[in-house]
Structures are given as C-alpha cells and as structure tokens.
Assembly symmetry: C2
Homo-oligomer: 470 residues x 2
C-alpha cells in the first residue's frame, strides 16, 4: 500500500470545482474533518484530500465530472464497516460519503420490492420491510451500522445466505453514475427480464470501481412464520464439518448454519448462557424457518442430520431467551477475538461444503506448522469460513510466519475449488492474491470492463481487481 501524504493539498481550482459540484457545505477539507473518513474496519488508513457529501444523483454526476477534469480519485464510502480497506483512499482523492443519501424511497409489498438510497443501513431496510411482513435476505453481522450500498459493493451477505442468497440474488435493479459521469439505470422492477447484458450483477460486488450506486431496487422475501434454533456440539472441528456436509445434503435448507471451532468456543464461553460441554471442540448453530405447520418436523430432520460421529449434543432452544443467548454467543465472537488479538488477520475464504473437513484439517496443520493460533467460525452452510490468525503485530517473526501461512491458506482454498473471498471482498487487503484465483484472460476482460465504465480510471483506483499481467 502506498502511503500518500495526507497533507498533499488539492489545487484551488480543484477545490472550487468540487464545491461547485456538491455545494460548499457538502465538502470537508480540514485535516481533522477528513481524518475519520480515511479508514474502515481493516487496520488500513489514509486520509482523503477532501470529503464530499451528496444528497442526489445530480450532485454525484457533477462530482464525478469535477474529479475527472482534475484527475482526482473518487472513493465512495458507506459507514466504513468494510474489512478490506476498499474505501481507504490510499491514492488520495475525494471520499464521497453516502451517509446523507439514506432514504427509503418506496416500499412496494405487492411487488415484493423496495427502492432505497445506498446510504440507508441494512437494519433500517429490515425494519421498514418488516412492517409489511417482508425482509431483505442479506444480513451481515454489522447490519445496524453497515449500509446497503456497502452490502452491494461487496456482495456482502451473512448467515441467511445459505437459504436466501446474497445481494446478487436479491437485487432487481440499480441506478448508478459511471466514471464518465453518466447516470444509468440497470435491471428491472420484475423478477424476470432478459433485455441486454446484466449490468446489475456486474455493478454488485464491483467495490465502487465501475460506478457510484445512487439507488437500489431490492427484492423482498416474506418473513417466515416461525423459526427453530438448534445448537449442536461436536468433539472436533472435523466432526462438525462432516455434520455440515450431511445437513446440506438433505432437503431441508436451514436459514442459518453457523460454525465455530473449539478456540472460538473458549473465547466466548464467558459470554454464553448456554451450557457448553468442556469437551466441545466445535459448535454448529442452526436455524430452520418456514410456515409453522411442518416447522417442527423440518427442525427434527436437520437435528437428525446433525447427529453422527463426534456429536456430543443437539439441543433445541426452548424459549426466546435461549435463542437470544445462542445468538449473543455468536455475535460476541468478533469483538472477543478483537479483544484477544486486536490486530488479528481475519480471512473470509469459501470452499465447497463437502471440502470443509479438508479445509479445517489443512488449517489445523498450517497453524501448527507456523505456530499461529487460528480461530475459525463462519457461515458453514455456504462453505464460507472466517479464518482468524491471532497474531501480535509487534512480533516480527510471527508477522513473517503469518504472511507465509496466509499465502498457504489461499493455496489450500484454491486447491479445494474455493474462493479467497466469500463476502468481504478484495479491497486492498486481498488484491495481490486475486491473480491466483482469476486467470489472466479474466483479468484482461475485467480491465476492459473497467475502462468502459470508467475511462479515466478515477473510481476507487487500485481496489478490487488487479491489472492483468502483460
């Protein structure tokens, strides 16, 4: 990562152009004002040269034009909950904060859709949808403080994706401003449509490098009538991973199938009101939802699949309080990890479900080889495992070992037909590894697409997709 001089000033002409674009009241140029917009939830930080706010697409078009004229990078940002540095303006430039474009423009329960501005939080969307008996499936743990724009930028999902899909499966259309300053509308207001190329899905997951999303038409799903929450404890990670495979091979698809390894259990034992056996080497939290009629039967089938070699217990939460306690356990994990190892490396790999046991065994072996504590948890139903390397950044030997270890983790994941990112995206953190997953031909096409949408290369330069090898 290049470290730009945060004090490098924009030219007066550039500042004037930016002010003209969004209005003087919507541009921050003081160092102290810019600082908070330089970081995300990775440890990367670089203050922008200016921070702009917008309240409508016209302002964004004008801003893009100004950035293009003055060759200034433009980095669009939600609320900064990303974990890969994707919104860190490491090449300087303007951070466009979408926090003031947070309106819900339309809720249309009859057509199961909702039109929102990208700065709205995921939680606000869920609340508005729930009033009509619906929800929007993507549910990152950060729902309360992440924006829909961010969810779309990284195709971020969460536990429910195993049954209900990611933003790509739950977004009907977008409006966006391209790097050429043009406003485009993609997609449809309907659940089918095949006129022209699918630009909606192309923008989703593109990490702000192709356009600035100004509106999103979200596809809503009816809230299930009921839910059953199960906790299954295993004597080893391997046994739990085998159970995940069994659960996903039977017809009842859980709406959450979360995984936590033994070290993760140790860390949150104090926070959990659930009694976990001392011998617990891994834990699954499973939710099944659907119409009340048949729900107990569905939960029973999943429970049956959860049982098997190495299973110590399968418990059904008997009260709302027990359900809350179980989820509190899971939600306490990220902060607990951060407390133990504030500079942990949190990876977000994904492998086919049947390969999870191999992944877990491989990770255990890598941890031993490099003498690094690795804590795993995540969305096992999608094979999406968050691999946490607990490291002390002041220990140079350990940092070196971690780098080698991480490299080998990615190699292992790709050998297992996986992907180096399930839902966090690439940003700055993983950009150097993308070339291992995507071939040169694919990178070349992505470069061409980028040039089509953003000929001047001003939109979030240096993020997501690396240049194709020459």
């Amino acid at each position: 990562m290049t470290t730009p001089d945060p004090e490098r000033p924009l030219s007066k002409a550039a500042i004037k152009a930016l002010k003209d674009a969004v209005g003087a009241g919507n541009l921050l140029t003081e160092a102290a004002d810019r600082w908070p917009y330089g970081g995300d939830n990775s440890r990367l930080h670089a203050p922008p040269q200016a921070v702009a706010f917008a309240t409508d697409a016209d302002q964004i078009q004008a801003l893009v034009d100004a950035c293009r004229s003055h060759w200034i990078p433009l980095v669009t940002r939600g609320l900064g909950s990303g974990t890969t540095g994707a919104t860190v303006p490491d090449q300087g430039g303007v951070v466009l904060s979408m926090e003031r474009m947070n309106r819900i423009l339309e809720v249309d329960p009859d057509n199961r859709m909702m039109v929102v501005e990208p700065g709205v939080t995921n939680q606000a969307v869920q609340d508005a949808a729930a009033q009509h008996g619906f929800f929007w499936p993507p549910d990152p743990t950060s729902a309360a403080y992440c924006t829909v724009g961010g969810n779309l930028a990284y195709n971020s999902a969460g536990p429910r994706a195993v049954k209900y899909g990611t933003p790509r499966e739950n977004t009907l259309g977008l409006t966006a401003v391209t790097g050429a300053g043009r406003l485009l509308r993609t997609g449809v207001y309907t659940t089918k449509g095949v006129v022209g190329y699918d630009l909606t899905r192309l923008l989703i997951g593109s990490e702000g490098t192709l356009g600035v999303i100004t509106q999103a038409t979200l596809r809503l799903t009816p809230l299930a009538e009921g839910k059953r929450t199960l906790q299954a404890v295993y004597d080893s990670m391997d046994a739990a991973a085998q159970a995940v495979s069994r659960i996903m091979a039977q017809p009842v698809v859980p709406c959450a199938l979360e995984f936590m390894d033994g070290r993760a259990i140790e860390m949150i034992r104090d926070y959990s009101q659930a009694n976990l056996p001392e011998a617990a080497g891994a834990l699954l939290m499973i939710e099944v939802d659907g119409p009340l009629a048949g729900l107990d039967d569905a939960a029973q089938r999943v429970a049956d699949a959860a049982r098997g070699k190495g299973n110590l217990s399968v418990a059904l939460a008997k009260s709302e309080n027990e359900v809350k306690a179980l989820w509190a356990t899971r939600k306490a994990l990220s902060p607990a990890l951060r407390r133990v190892a504030p500079k942990k490396i949190n990876e977000d790999v994904v492998v086919p479900v049947s390969r999870i046991p191999e992944l877990i065994r491989g990770l255990e072996s890598l941890g031993r080889r490099h003498d690094i504590t690795i804590v795993c948890f995540g969305h096992a139903g999608n094979g999406n495992i968050h691999v946490n390397l607990l490291i002390d950044p002041d220990d140079a030997r350990q940092m070196k070992a971690a780098a080698t270890c991480l490299d080998q983790v990615f190699t292992l994941v790709l050998e297992l037909r996986g992907s180096i990112s399930g839902e966090h995206g690439v940003g700055l953190a993983k950009r150097d590894f993308v070339g291992r997953e995507l071939g040169a031909e694919v990178l070349g096409l992505m470069e061409g697409i980028k040039a089509t949408f953003d000929p001047a290369g001003i939109l979030n330069p240096g993020k997501g997709v690396p240049p194709a090898p020459q």
Copy 2:
C-alpha cells in the same frame, strides 16, 4: 432483417481454416446440410454458409480464431428451440452447433452442483439430478428439446422461476471462449464468492454475443417432498389478475402460478379432461411444493388467496391423473395456438405483478382497437405474460395493424415498469425495441462490453443489443 444469399460461398481459404479448426468431418458446407441450421422456432430463416460441430473447447477456440482471421460471423446454436431468431445467421457465417457437446461431466450432490456441457438438454439435466434427489430450477416448456446452453443464452426459465429463480440465480460458474479465442473460467464452485466482477451473470442472457459457453456449473436444488396442484377459475381476466396479486402478497410462494385467459381456455377445452365452467374467463394453475408436513396447510393458504371477487371455483387436484390432466391442458396451449394461427406473434412481456390487471385491461383495449385477437397466458407469478397476436400473415391490413398494436403493447409494458422480454430474449425479433427500454448510456456501456469480449465483432453479430445511438 437482411436476407443474405444462402449460396454465397466462403472462400476456399476460409473453408480450409474452418476444417483445420474442427476437423473435416465436423464441417458441413453442402446447401442441403446447411439448411436445417438456418432457423429456430421463430419464423425467421437464413441458411449459414457452413455448419460446424465441436466436441471440446480447443476446437471452439480454433474455430473462433479461424472466423476472426477470415471475418466470418459465428452463431452458436443449441437445438433451435428459441423464438426470437437469435440463432438465425442472417448475416451469413458459420453456425456452431453444440449438439455434440452434450455430456454431463460431474454430478456433485454433496455440493448441490452439476457440471455440464452446453449441448445437454434441460430434461437430461433434470433426469440426472433427480437420481440424486435434486433438480435444476429453470424449466422451459421445451425442456425435452432445448439445451442448457440455450437456457443460459436467454436466461430462459419457466413456471418454477416464481419460486426458484432463473438461470442467473441457479448457475455458479461457466467456462467460455471469448470472441478473441481465449478460454475463460468465470464464477465459483460455491454459493458465495466476490472476487472480481460477475462475468458469469454477464454471459448469461448475452445471446451468444460475448462468448461461446463450453461448460456450465449448475446449482442444484433439492426436490420437494410433495406438491399440491390447484386450479382456480375466474369470470374474467381482470379477476384472475387480481387473484395473482393477492397470492403473491401472502407468504407462501407457489412453485408455479400459471395464467390462461378465456380465449386460451376455449382453444384447449377439447384437450382438457378438467371440467371448466362455460363462464370461465380466465384460469390459474397453481402449484405449491415443500415438505409433506405443512404442505396441505400451505396449499390451503394459497387457495384462500385465490378466492375473491370473480372467482368461480378453486379445485385441488385429487389424483396424479388429475394433476397430469391439468398440466396437459397448459402444455397443449402452445401447439393449439400454433394450429389456429400458425404465424401468430408470440410476445413475452413482463410487468410487476400488481400491474398485471392494468396490462390485461390495456391488452383487451388494444385488441379491440386494432381488431386483433389477443390470447394471453404465461407465468403470472413473475408477471411474465405471453401475449399472442393471432394474425394471418397474408392479410396485409392485419399485418400492418399488428405492427402498430405490438408497438403499443411495448409502450404499455414500459409504462407499467415492465420489460419487453421476460425469458425469450431479444434475438432479431425485438432488437429494434430494445432502445426504448434501455437508455443510450446503458447501450453505450453494453457496446463497450461487447468490444471487450469480442473485439472483431464476429460473435452472433446483429443480435440482442442494438448499437448505442450516436
């Protein structure tokens, strides 16, 4: 549509290059051999200058290179069941038939996926998946004689899409040969993944204009344990359309919600073993699937929503024979229509579900105004209505009226926030109307994407996306 001279010969050098690419035994150049590859299920026809077969991606890469060197259009074709002329080589060139690339390469039930060659029929995929308790959701009526490659090319779905989605929601990855002759692999073997831009969905629905798909990794869904089939009869199309809205606004999502208007009922009355009331002005066929426990309850809820103003009856099929009879009714419709009006115009529009009543009223009014019989049926749960204009192509006055009528149908659909194609695609038939739905900015971007994938412009030229207005 330009009408090329089918006898226009390719140069000897070109024919040699094509033979070198795929092998002499895999190239047809005799007029009689070429003729059958000139048409699809539209009435458009233009014989190619040559027909090539391939059995692997290497041959396709060599073929693309040969076409590029000699500037020959390359039109990829499945089994020709498309309805828009998308595989009709109206600019001459080579038709690449995928009929010999029809292998199922891998069925992986543990990971709920299947890897296939594009020439395999949809039905063969369903049969192979069913052996493991799964299915692939896209289910065009033509399943027995349409290929998965064709389904992907037009994002073709069918009745089940209302619950289970289209190919875009049910395909994990692809391999394809670009117009530059490069082999690329897109997507993942997992249900999550966000590394780089989504080229998988970009290729799906691109009608062979960006690349030749050589393999597809399909996402499988567990077969439901049971199904209930309902038939609801209404006194008018409007009443049925209102019922569709009510059904889609409650939480139980049917796995089929098919619609047939009064004229369609008349046409297939003879084929139906179901007793339809004389006053039947419209009919819904509804299927609900899921685990057996709770299934009757779910069917009951849908039946309740189906009742209301204008409803004459709601009947639950009581035997497997009754179910078959109901579906035979629906499946007899397309051939029946074709018999009555062999040159009918079959449109494939889609509107938000709540706007179906307005669409239907608008269509009735347009039919009266232009004195054209319009028969409507289709996948109402997605708002995807097949609008059939029964015309006599020898009646010049009627043909003129039909053209005006169709134009007004599209205007109406777009006013209702719909799309001019739900699942048949654009091909040649609708290309002139695409510009009304997609803005100039969007068309410009699509042109850029096309140039990135196919710099020489040899892949299915003139289909799908029209040039951006200058």
